[in-house]
Symmetry: D2
Subunit: 408 residues, 4 copies
């Protein structure tokens, strides 16, 4: 095991661990540790909500979650010699849950507090808890399904430069201004009150908190990409914007489907990452890199027998959109949910399966005006019954009465 | 070899073969042949343009293509006993080029005549021709790349009912009316002049031509989905809307990347499909099916070593979009093109590679406001040089001066 | 389609086509055609028995087959510039059945005439015929099973030098002399009477026939390797022993399991190969190559859900062998057959499935004295029922009364 | 994390831990713990030699290893309700190294003390040590190679009945008697002196030690199968011979190639297994099971780009063997070693790579008299240079002077 560079305590609040945690992006957040190119080290992470969600059968915590606090990141870690314009090469050697905490959660956020991809269809807070069994997971809230995890950090990237930070704030504010009262909002703008600025202190921290970028979206530096394939064994090339790079990470997932459609849609967990770093000097220019690029792992779960659902960019009300892959993928998801309901799942259970299982979401056609065509690939081997269509029609196989936890 | 149900002649014009071809969707187009559930048969197809594009080194034909004529489909084929509400089960047993015509083409359409996913960046007509070598293909216009084909019909589906046809025409007209002068247009509305209505004749054909849906987009019935994974060996479940189903197909591709981003972006070819059909009575209701669903083939090319490019929904001008997977995938594509240019490819060559090779396009994150995150998966094994980043930086490996064919 | 270099007629006898066929290995067989490095061409092949086996429901032809005649090979093909010590690089671009002959056969040879891996258990002649459906095959003699083909030449290689031929004949004669009356024999020694020596004529042909090596075994040059993974899309590096190499090929298989255990165990067919050749000068020495090496295809059937059977080197009578992988694999095969019988298959059907389906046979442990451990990997997805063990025990799923064809 | 059922201390001798360890198979060894069907639990294991081999640069410990002591197994574990004739269903949920012991070793045993598959070529004791980096491993003794582990127990199975034990002893003694003075011996017969009989005590233990079967070979119950694919995520069905089954396991491997050809050929480690058990009553008869069967994991390393070496059953001296897959696989291994030497590896390094990396060994042809054909599949992606043949010939890429550790 490599040395543990950053240690956390899942029984303490994030605020008590501000020496190694932060929840905003800002160029001035001090490094919490320095490493050299070639180093291998372990980074521990609390779950993205900082312990707001419990392993129980009520969704009240999901309903009441404070989303201005997320995501709690471990770092930033300084890499000696890394400079703006370099590429930071990050090998994600391993990802795991803490042995004393082998469980995770999936939430459907309330439409008024977070929402999700299908929030108009599933507006209420709900929760599924998952138990880990080695490489597999099952949920007491979703019967007849079991799959191998594809563990990865939902969020990882380097600190932005001031210029980049300003650009983010400017463009996101411009978007919000087009519909400032929307629920959920169009973007998560800086919010000082709950900002955790790591080792910044005093007035500087207060000022930085006002402009620190929220961690919700993916951006040029990577960030909250929620790419399920940044899994253990992958190699990622990150743009460097500040001296020593400042690599931070968190939001660990035991598994996730493409799109992470329930928003809190992966199987969220606390745990650790084993990391190796090196640097390609001037790599951004050399390779023309603007966003991170990566090589996937040779060790992802190998499900090959899929049932694939198509969706086109005509919405639920029959309105036509122009090559809109968002609408098309939503239709593919809704189609898959309707299908799963025929076997006995509730809509919420089906929604949670699509968000957590190693489901693939493809942009299949994006030029055939006016319809985009998206496909959702559902691995059939994760179910303990035969899911494929046949002449007899579906049998109700999901006979258990359990369902996702509700609010009370 | 199964019996040939539909025979075409690639040396004749489509108009001379209207007994087996049509290029509009309409419920009243007569069946050209009847089959029974359980039958296996061969269907020959001309290329989607009906022979407008030649195997030569000029892109004039791409520039001048008449897109009101496409796509030429073989069919419709009637299936005994199939009724509205059924699912037509189509096994695509084989797909192949004609032995005397083992080549294909990829076009970048002119922005004023068709356009494409990156038409603002690549507005001029260009063309690449591809030679087939058994399971592989290479292009004299794109050096250092060779890959195994994933042959499939870009377009396949059943005739719409009158109600469905009316709905299509209504919603697409509504979209066009929001910006009627746009170039390229927002949708391809009915256009009687070049309609080929199969075996319809006289006044009925003229009337139907005025309302016959264009074949460009994918719709509820499938149609021009351009899903590369409807490959040989796959099984597709199509909704049935009219008596005897009326299955038509065409637009054969030797290979295509997810998104078919250059519009004429697959490797387009003439050829044949071997098909087996059966019926699930009442399957639409039984399985809750609105759009086709399918099972992929066990025989697709197995490339596993990818370099993956990320894109977010901030456009080339820095404008922020809300969870827009279209914009995000465009950025991922542009990022991949910039990368490939560092190894010596022209932008147009890189663009054509992304459209034709078995590239995957994933919707990786679709809930992290305001940014969608899309990923483009480029198989590295299709290049005859090492494409991965390293400390030395890229070497110019593509030293040949050839490029895509231009107009003259 | 590449030009057809060698054309055959499946309705004529091999003897009538001696201008392009031969059935012995000898350095003096004249080239039937010359090609250049870089050439691409088609080679047609009759089936390995030269038409002795029919598409019918009697195994009489299997029982009576003349095995001194096999295998009929197309070639030898001369490659300009190839010299002893070079490596001939052969790209197998495509393999296919003739369109007018889309069927194949699998035989269990009579113990007294050929035998097979389990001939002590299944000593009688039996036959299964297979129909091809695009990439898939089914047999009217083996219900409930359907799989994608992995088409390949069972036999391909270059002519031996005189020295190599002498070595073959010497060592094989020495083996036979240890038990000269064994049935089946320990090896197939030269047999002039039925030798087809291609374009050799007169006395020279007669003399050569006496020493021409039989085509049955794989040897240093490749030959009858029966490696299922020399499939379309693979690249093979063959040692060259004579001027112009002299490449011959035949024994096409639609599919085969590792080991080809029924001897006539693949799905045997007539058909064609599309080939590209090039040369690595001095490659044998440069790379230390004694036997062919190869790179597999990216297009093999992808079955991933296996049930795996173990076998150890203790034979059916309980006798212990020393690290004998042959005995171990036989036990694994017998174990798999017993398992399949529990679902309703006859032993002969199960045997034929193991010989033809894309079954893998692994040498799992070969050092743990005294037992070798072999594993047989049976893809479960080729059956139309659930083959995996569960608490209820197997149900008889194979209810059809059909069985392999017998003799009359 | 499941509860730890069996805890070991890698800093104590096996003899000090006889309450949970044993190194012989005998029906009377008492259960060390009882579990119920449906239970999930962790089993810790010391390395197979019980700590005889050190993480250092001398092979003296390999030379001097006491092979009468191996393998040290954790167990036996009793499963309530399991009876002779049942199948014990074992889910291997996870396998891992101890965090304080993330290294492993590979040994080439001295010919006079253990030997190995190629002991006539490599008769001297040598050693490679491996460091684990998350899912990957590298060795300071073998440069330019890095691969993802396929962790598994080399040895797992249930206690034999008295009848089965007697059969083992009888047949193995019979084999040894055919050449009793052979070095290495033909089999490892019972040897009381170093027997560790678990919780058996007194006279009973002494008597049992005299007949307790050595753990070296795989047998009907599974045992030391060294099947690399019993990896984490697999499900194994074991025959039950005694009341409560008595499941024992050990000999953990971080990785191994098919055949484990260097005998101590895997990457040997201490570590843990997470296990779930259930029972199929009467399963042996129901499914006709004699040896274990298993379903592989969806999470094995996915290397697809192989270079494949053929071998036939003619030995190094040119002697012909009859369908001998052992000899054929040895030739394939020797061919691969010669090839790797051309790139700069020592023979010993190449030998160790074949034993440890996820190499596949296939029985490709086993009926083409007189030659068996075996193939060795070497994944090319584990090397940091291009291993494939080309016209220029190999470059010496392995320039480091390091080699396997020797004796002093």
């Amino acid at each position: 095991m490599p040395k543990t560079l950053i240690k956390v305590d899942i029984n303490k609040s994030p605020e008590e661990q501000s020496d190694v945690l932060h929840n905003r992006w800002h160029p001035d957040i001090p490094m919490v540790a320095m490493v050299k190119p070639g180093d291998e080290f372990r980074v521990e992470c609390i779950d993205w909500t900082g312990g707001q969600i419990g392993n129980n059968d009520s969704a009240n915590d999901i309903r009441d979650v404070d989303l201005t606090k997320v995501h709690y990141l471990s770092g930033p870690i300084g890499v000696e010699g890394a400079e703006p314009g370099d590429l930071l090469v990050v090998d994600i050697l391993d990802v795991g849950a803490f042995q004393e905490s082998e469980w995770g959660f999936t939430g459907l956020f309330d439409k008024a507090n977070g929402g999700g991809f299908l929030t108009d269809h599933y507006p209420d807070a709900r929760k599924a808890c998952w138990d880990f069994h080695g490489i597999y997971t099952t949920s007491r809230h979703i019967p007849n399904v079991r799959f191998a995890g594809i563990m990865h950090p939902g969020l990882i990237g380097c600190l932005p430069s001031r210029e980049l930070l300003n650009e983010w704030n400017k463009r996101e504010a411009a978007l919000v201004s087009t519909d400032p009262d929307r629920v959920p909002p169009l973007a998560a703008l800086p919010y000082a009150e709950t900002a955790l600025m790591g080792r910044m202190t005093g007035e500087a921290a207060k000022e930085a908190a006002k402009e620190g970028a929220r961690t919700v979206p993916p951006r040029e530096h990577g960030g909250n990409c929620d790419i399920k394939n940044l899994s253990k064994g992958s190699r990622v090339f990150f743009p460097v914007y500040v001296k020593n790079a400042g690599l931070s990470m968190g939001d660990l997932h035991f598994s996730q489907g493409d799109g992470e459609i329930t928003f809190c849609g992966a199987i969220e967990m606390a745990g650790y990452l084993d990391i190796h770093v090196s640097v390609i000097k001037g790599g951004m220019e050399k390779y023309g890199v603007k966003n991170p690029i990566f090589q996937p792992s040779p060790m992802e779960p190998r499900y090959n027998d899929y049932l694939i659902f198509e969706g086109i960019s005509v919405d639920e009300q029959g309105k036509q959109y122009y090559l809109d892959a968002h609408v098309a993928y939503r239709q593919a998801c809704l189609n898959a949910i309707e299908y799963l309901k025929k076997f006995g799942y509730s809509g919420e259970q089906a929604y949670a399966i699509l968000g957590t299982a190693p489901v693939e979401g493809h942009i299949s056609g994006i030029v055939d005006i006016p319809n985009a065509c998206a496909t959702l690939w559902l691995p059939t081997e994760i179910f303990d019954f035969n899911l494929k269509p046949d002449a007899e029609g579906p049998k109700i196989m999901v006979t258990s009465k359990v369902d996702l936890a509700s609010t009370s």
